[in-house]
Structures are given as structure tokens and as C-alpha cells.
């Protein structure tokens, strides 16, 4: 099914109405969008910044809110050497305006009607579009079985940690499996390495269940996971990837 939009994508100015710290390095920005026509889980927006001398920088950020939330929320990971993300996390305040366009992307999206079972694999801020899918799934009360395999550097850096714990605890066939790659808290009994073929073998749905896989995060993770899933027998047409690139914001 191909979406046909009646008009082209246009840039618009939107106001920041809320800033929500998620982890030490990430913040969610809630934007007040008049005439926002809604979005699909998995889509992103492009953000455009202009300096006083006319210099401009553009980056893409995934939408973390579910379509049912009725609002536009993006989650930004602050990259140390970044040009745009430190501005969005350190300087931008409620009341400031952001130039953006979107929602964008119809390929890396999931809605309840697309079925499953769902395997969502994310690294760092790659979890953001996957969270939109999880929130959508919860909002519509979907029974599609879903597993999130989420790689973070440490426990404190698990974005949306509390909400994920709550959703998984509801017993509605959502499983959240974390792996911590740099440091783990005392007593941690979960995975503590980078996602690899062996971990995927243990976590992924068997190919004969015809799962839908979404993989998002830094390019090396996405390439490794995408390849491993296909090697495990997953249909390449049902493994959707969104690389965040080696250089970021």
C-alpha cells in the first residue's frame, strides 16, 4: 500500500512547549504543531537551524510519540562533537521555535494492521522510532507479540526505561530485553555485550513465524544486526533498517 500525499512536504515553524530530560544525555522536545496531520510510528522530522550570519545546519530526528498521543515529540541524543544536538539539548528552551518538516518516511513504519510478530532492535537513540511503535501498539491495545532488544551503554542511559518496564510488566506480550555494553549495575543478570548473532538467535522470533524486524541505531550496529537476521533466515523484505550514520548531530 503506497501512501499518496496530496501536497509536497513543506517547512514550518513550530514552538517548543515542553522539554523532558530522559537520561543524562538525552532530552525529549515536545512541539506544538497547529495543523499537524498526525504521523505513523517510525517516521521522522527534519530540523533546520539558522545562525545569525546565515549559516545553516540540517539534521533528522525520529518521532518518539505515538500517533495517538496527538502531539509531536522527538528525542535528541546529545553528541559530544555534534553541531546540532548540543544546541537542541543545551540551548533550546520552551518558547523557542524550531524550523522543521515532516512527518517523513513511509517505509520504516509500523501500524497495528501490519501484523507481526515484531522484533525491534535498537542501539542508543535508535530506540526512538521503535518507541513510537511500542507506544502505538499499547495505545490501540494490540495483541501483536513484540520484543524490543535494546543496546545501551549503561543502565542510566536506557532511554524511556521506566515506561518500558511498566509496559512490559503489563503482561500484554511485550518483552523488553536490554543489553548494556559499557557498564552494568551490581547484580545485573542480563546481557552485557554488543548485540551479536548469538544474542539474536536467542531473542529473535524464528523465521517460520514470518516476523517483521525493525533495526535502528548507529550504522555499524544496524549493518551487523541486519546481516545476522538475514543469515538466521529472516526474509530480507521483512527486515527494515534505519541507519543513523557514523557522524551524527
Amino acid at each position: 500500500m503506497v501512501a499518496v500525499r496530496p501536497r509536497r512536504l513543506l517547512w514550518r515553524l513550530e514552538e517548543v512547549v515542553e522539554v523532558v530530560p530522559e537520561t543524562p544525555r538525552t532530552k525529549s522536545l515536545v512541539l506544538d504543531v497547529l495543523g499537524w496531520e498526525g504521523h505513523k510510528a517510525g517516521q521522522h522530522v527534519d530540523v533546520w537551524l539558522t545562525a545569525p550570519d546565515g549559516y545553516q545546519a540540517q539534521r533528522s530526528y525520529s518521532i518518539g510519540s505515538a500517533p495517538e498521543d496527538g502531539r509531536l515529540m522527538v528525542t535528541v541524543d546529545r553528541l559530544e562533537e555534534g553541531e546540532v544536538s548540543p544546541y537542541l539539548t543545551d540551548v533550546l528552551e520552551v518558547g523557542d521555535r524550531l524550523e522543521l518538516r515532516g512527518p517523513i518516511g513511509g517505509y520504516f513504519t509500523w501500524e497495528e494492521g501490519d501484523g507481526g510478530p515484531l522484533l525491534l532492535v535498537g542501539g542508543g537513540s535508535g530506540v526512538v522510532p521503535l518507541m513510537a511503535m511500542i507506544r502505538h501498539r499499547a495505545a490501540v491495545g494490540s495483541g501483536v507479540p513484540a520484543r524490543l532488544l535494546y543496546s545501551s551503554r549503561s543502565y542510566e542511559e536506557i532511554i524511556y526505561r521506566k515506561e518500558l518496564e511498566n509496559l512490559a510488566a503489563r503482561g500484554g506480550s511485550l518483552e523488553v530485553i536490554d543489553t548494556l555494553t559499557r557498564s552494568k549495575p551490581e547484580g545485573w543478570s542480563g546481557y552485557h555485550t554488543r548485540i551479536d548473532a548469538q544474542m539474536l538467535k536467542e531473542v529473535a522470533w524464528p523465521p517460520n513465524e514470518s516476523p517483521l524486524d525493525f533495526v535502528c541505531g548507529p550504522t555499524p550496529l544496524v549493518e551487523a544486526v541486519g546481516t545476522a537476521l538475514v543469515d538466521l533466515g529472516h526474509d530480507p523484505a521483512r527486515v527494515k533498517t534505519e541507519r543513523f550514520g557514523a557522524t551524527g548531530g
Partner: protein, 201 residues
């Protein structure tokens, strides 16, 4: 974009100006990598450089033969159309004049062709007269693949998209054939001092 909108408090990457810079340029730290396609990794045993097209005798050098040619150290400013510049960059390479020695041609233009599908076009007189090199080293080290290694064209007097990465030869032509960016709205010649960025500039 929205006319006149400024993002409050946004500065962007450090941008320094300098008297030596052409209009609209700023100095940058590091060496940005811009690539329109995958980085080729041609093994040196398979690499060659050719002069082809409207010439009586096409020429070809293997890597070993190429490295035997007289070469020189080059120190030049470079200017990318995306506004960053670097001053006094140091390279090592072979003058295109050397490669064209003894080449008889009525051609007036040159197309540089490369591993991958990148091409760029120049007037023949712009690649001669000591202005252009085929460079294989940067800052004393072999040119890295992401920066165009094993060898790239080095055309400091024009915008840096003319300095084609992964160059494998020059095709001499009677007609000017717009290259990869020149056929997509970018200026056919590209003189940074006249800010020739786009068609019609």
C-alpha cells in the same frame, strides 16, 4: 525555509574567516568527508591511470610506473563549494603536465573519470600550466581511501568538487561534457574567486 527566521542562540561549528579566503568561505578544523557513493578499494595491483579520448596514442601507467614519474610537494589552499576552506594543505603528486607530455590532441576539454561513477569536466588549459596534479599523499602520508586514495585529482584553483577522488584517468574531448555535479546545477567552471557555485553564477 521560513524567511528571516534565526534559531535563537545557534552558532554552529566554529567558522573562522581569513583575508586569504574567497567570498563566502570560512576556515574549518579537520577535513570534512563528502561522498556521493561507496568508497572504492581498488588494490594497487589493479590500479592504473590512463589518458584516453581524442589522442593519437593513449597512455597508461600502472601504480609502479606512476610512482616512478617525477613528482613534487604541493602546498595550496583548497575551497569546497559547501563553504569550508583549508589553507596551506600539503600534498604530493604528479603534475598533469607531466602526464600529458608528448600527447598530441585537438581536444579542448577534459573529463576526469574515477572508480565509482564520479566525473568532473574542465577545460584542457585549466589542467595544464602547472595548475593541476594527480595527488597520492596528503600531509606526508598515503592518501586515505575516504579522502580519495590511492590518488585523486588536485585542482586548487577551482571549487574542490573538481578535485575528483579515486581518479583513474583523463578523457580528452572536443565537447565539454558536464560531470557529476555540473549536470546537477553546479557551475560548469567553478571559480571560487568569482563565487561560481551554481549555473548562472
Amino acid at each position: 525555509m521560513s524567511e528571516g527566521f534565526i534559531s535563537r542562540g545557534f552558532g554552529g561549528r566554529r567558522r573562522q574567516s581569513d583575508d586569504r579566503l574567497p567570498p563566502g568561505q570560512y576556515l574549518v578544523d579537520g577535513f570534512p568527508v563528502l561522498s556521493a557513493g561507496p568508497t572504492p578499494h581498488t588494490p594497487l595491483e589493479e590500479w592504473d591511470f590512463s589518458i584516453v579520448g581524442e589522442v593519437d596514442d593513449p597512455k597508461r601507467w600502472t601504480w609502479e610506473e606512476f610512482r616512478q614519474l617525477p613528482s613534487e610537494e604541493i602546498t595550496k589552499d583548497i575551497h569546497c563549494e559547501t563553504k569550508w576552506s583549508k589553507l596551506d594543505t600539503m600534498w604530493e603528486g604528479v603534475l598533469v603536465d607531466t602526464l600529458l607530455e608528448g600527447v598530441e590532441t585537438a581536444a579542448e576539454y577534459v573529463t576526469a573519470f574515477c572508480d565509482g561513477d564520479y566525473t568532473t569536466n574542465l577545460p584542457l588549459e585549466d589542467v595544464t600550466g602547472g595548475k593541476v596534479w594527480v595527488a597520492y599523499a596528503y600531509e606526508g602520508e598515503p592518501l586515505e581511501p575516504i579522502h580519495g586514495g590511492p590518488a585523486r585529482l588536485l585542482v586548487p584553483h577551482l571549487y574542490f568538487w573538481k578535485s575528483a577522488k579515486w581518479v583513474r584517468g583523463l578523457q580528452l574531448t572536443s565537447y565539454d561534457i558536464p560531470g557529476f555535479w555540473e549536470s546537477l546545477g553546479y557551475h560548469n567552471y567553478g571559480d571560487p574567486w568569482r563565487e561560481q557555485r551554481y549555473w548562472g553564477d
